[in-house]
Structures are given as C-alpha cells and as structure tokens.
Amino acid sequence: MSHHIIQVNNLKYKYPDGREALNGVTFRITHGESIGIVGANGAGKSTLLMHLVGVLFPDEGEISVGDVPVTKKTLPVIRQRVGMVFQEPDDQLFMTTVYDDVAFGPRNYKLPEEEVEKRVKSSLDTVGILHLKDRPPYKLSGGEKRAAAIATVLAMNPDILVMDEPTSALDPKSRRRLIMLLQSFTHTKIIATHDMDMVFELCERTIILQDGKVITDGPTAKILSNVELMEECGLELPLGLQGCPVCGTK
C-alpha cells in the first residue's frame, strides 16, 4: 500500500517567462486521504498538479509517489498510479467516440482487447454514461463530458486521483452527481478547487496555497471555518458555514 503515498519536498517552479508559480511547497499525503487544495486564481494549484503527473518538472525540490521519484524515466509507472482529470474536459477527449477515448489509456498499456473492453464498460458504468459510449465526445453536455473525462482516467485503474477544478462549469445537478460519485471512490484523492462546499463535503484535509506557498495544511473543518484566514487568502467560507442571509442566524 506504500505506493499510495505522495511526498512533495520544497518544490519550486518558475515558468519560462520568469513567473514564480511555486515557491517551496512541501506536504505528504498518505493512503486513502482526500485532500482539497484551495487558493485564489493564480495561486499555483494547476501548476502543482501538473508536477504530480510529470507534465512539468521542478526547478528545485522533489516529488515521489510511493518509493518512486517523479522523473522522466519513471513516467510510465507514475502515470499508471496517478490519474489526472484536467480542468477542461475538451482537452482530455480527443477521439471520435466516447468508447475509444476511454479505451485510449488501457490500449497504450497494451492490454488485451477483452480487458480493455471490460475496463471501458465498467468505468463508463461507474460514472453513469455507459449509454453514451458510441457518441462523439464533443457533442456531449458539460456534465457528460466531465463524466467521460473521469472515466478515461478510471480506466487506467489509478491508485491516486488528481482533479483540477472538477466542478467548474457544472450546473447544480451535475455538480451534485459528481460529488456523490467522488464520495463513492476509495482512491486517494487530490482536488484543486475554489468550490469550498465541495471541499467541505469531500475532503477531510485542506491545503491552502497562496502565491505558490502552502499557507496552511490541516483538517478541513478547522481551516474552512477560520474567517480571518479565509479572507486573508481571498477565499469564502463554505455556504454551509455562512450566516443565513435571510434571517441573519448562523
């Protein structure tokens, strides 16, 4: 089980244009945890997640998944363990049918076609869109696209799920469905978002990022209810913890 641990040590990253996006980030995530990574726009959340799957490599510091350091050489192993759901489902769906898109990952790992089919069907079933398997992905609705993008990652059987703003651009019903779905997963989950209510429901632990640094790291209930801290980081309390706008009570 040790390969579900993620260790990030003093991570620093500068974009080629000189912008320092990560400025010494350190944390450790253990097996089965659900972590919310929150922070204002531009805090460095996406940049951090890209490092976890080896799309970007740190200028300084290191990351390891289990006992394996994330380097160019270990990428195949890392990417099998860590599944990333990108912010834009459109970037993740590029084949001509939903089925082929979900099968893309398993086929790259040269699994026998029976196994591919089994995985595709079960991932599509998990996210509830098995009936859409023959549709072209670019003709799905926003919520369906998101579900398909998640299915493409599930089909890889990852131990760790990394998601970048999974609830952005979803209507309330699709958002609710997604949260229930994520709740049912037993994977280690890392979710970057500004959806405080989702973090409140899904993640027992929260890391706040600001200007590429970790501001706090601790139990969600404690952090998200700290009014000063949240305001300082340009974030809002979850609606569930805000006073009632109608009657003024908490």
């Binding site: 084949m95 990952g105 790259n108």
Partner: protein, 270 residues
Amino acid sequence: MPNLVESLYNIRILDELAEKRTIIHNIHPLMKVLTTGVYLMVTVSFGKYELSGLLPLIFYPVVLITLADIPIVPIFKRVLLVLPLIIGIGLFNPLFDKNPMIVLPWIQISGGWISFFSILIKGFLTILAALILIATTGMTRIASALRIMRIPRLFIMQLLLTYRYISVLIEEVGRVVRAYSLRSPGEKGIRFSNWGSLTGQLLIRTLERAQRVYHSMCCRGFAGEYNVGREKGMGIGDIVYFVGWSLYFVIIRYFNIPAMIGSLMMGVGK
C-alpha cells in the same frame, strides 16, 4: 458570420463518417491505403495533354461514395476548399502554352487549356480519393496501416498530431470569430486592422490548447502510437479488393478506353 461557425461545427464529419459500418468501411485499412496509393500514382502519371484517358478514373470515387454511403455535399465542399490552390498551380498553362491542340472549324483549343483542365481534373480526383480514404477508414486506422507498412513512427505521429491540430485550430477560429462578431454587430467580415491581433491570439491559443491535449494524451501513456484496438485480420476479400482495383487502374492507364470505344463506334459507323 453564423454560417461560418455552423459549418465549422461539421469539421469532424469525416471522423464521424469513418465510424459507419459498410462494406467499404470493413475492408482492411492497409488494403484501402494501398489502393488509394495506386490510384494516386496512376492519376498523376497521366501525361499533361491526356484528357479523355482520365475519364475512367472517375469510376473509383463514384463506386466508393455509393457503397460507403458517403454524403456528397460535405465531401465536395471540402474538395472545393482546396481547388483554388490547384487552379493557382495550373493557371499559367493557358498563358504560356498557346499551341493549338484541337482545331475545330469554329474554335481552337490551345495545349495550355488542355493541360490546365488535366491538372484540374487530376487535382480534383486525388483530393477526392484522399478524403474518401479518411471518411471510410478514419485517421487512426490509416495510421495503423502506415505502421504496418513500416513508415517511421515519427512521421505517423506528425501526421496524427497535425490532423488533430487542424480541428483544434478550426474550433478556436470558430470561438474567436463568434466572440468578435458578437461585439461588432452589422459587420460583414473581420475588419482588416484587427486581423493582426486576432491571428496572433489564435496562434497562441491553439498552441496552448494543442499542448494541453498532448499532455493529457501523455498522462494516459501515449508514447507516439495510437492503438486502435481490435483489428480484424486480413481476408481474401481485402486482397481481392486491392488487386481488383489495381488491375483496373493499370488497364485504364495503358489503354485509353474512351478513345477505343470512340474508334469502335466510328468503325461500326463506317
């Protein structure tokens, strides 16, 4: 302007057509690629003044379009898109080559005009054949056929990513144009002074998007090869398809059938 965005919506129609299941779609991709290759070679090998010999070549696209149940209008629209390029290539022939080739009592047709039409027809047929191949096979299966032919992986990846990039580019064009037209009511096109900033924006946006798509492919283990999954083996029918068409192409290359029929008729008439 709305038509533009609307027609852009259809850019992936070739991919969608490739998902159909007809006799032609079911033929092994390698045989279709090879057949198309022979067709292209035969078509361009006709001399520049040969017009009538080209006619039997039209038979091939007609048969395929019919059997593969391909809608004609969207395919022809795409051919028309490239036609100006071919006209540009052939345009100077009538100007430079003024030797009369066909002399009829009321008109003289110069060699230039004949070679111009020959280029036009050849261009039309080759593009049509390529589009039909994509619409009946799909880019990923074409790629796997090329792989069987031992084409280096790097070239195939270039081909696939370029093909993907075109649709990404066109989609972004659609978005930019839509955003522009919403804020400039009543304008017919895009004002010239805005072209620079728009194309610059487009380039950056499409490159970034293409890069994100590529990253998400890599995250799922992409290593330069599309795997199309279950590929049916090659059967006798596939080979017959290839050999049959190739024979036909070679025969019409060496025997000018329309001319033979013509002289036959004349002979009968005498």
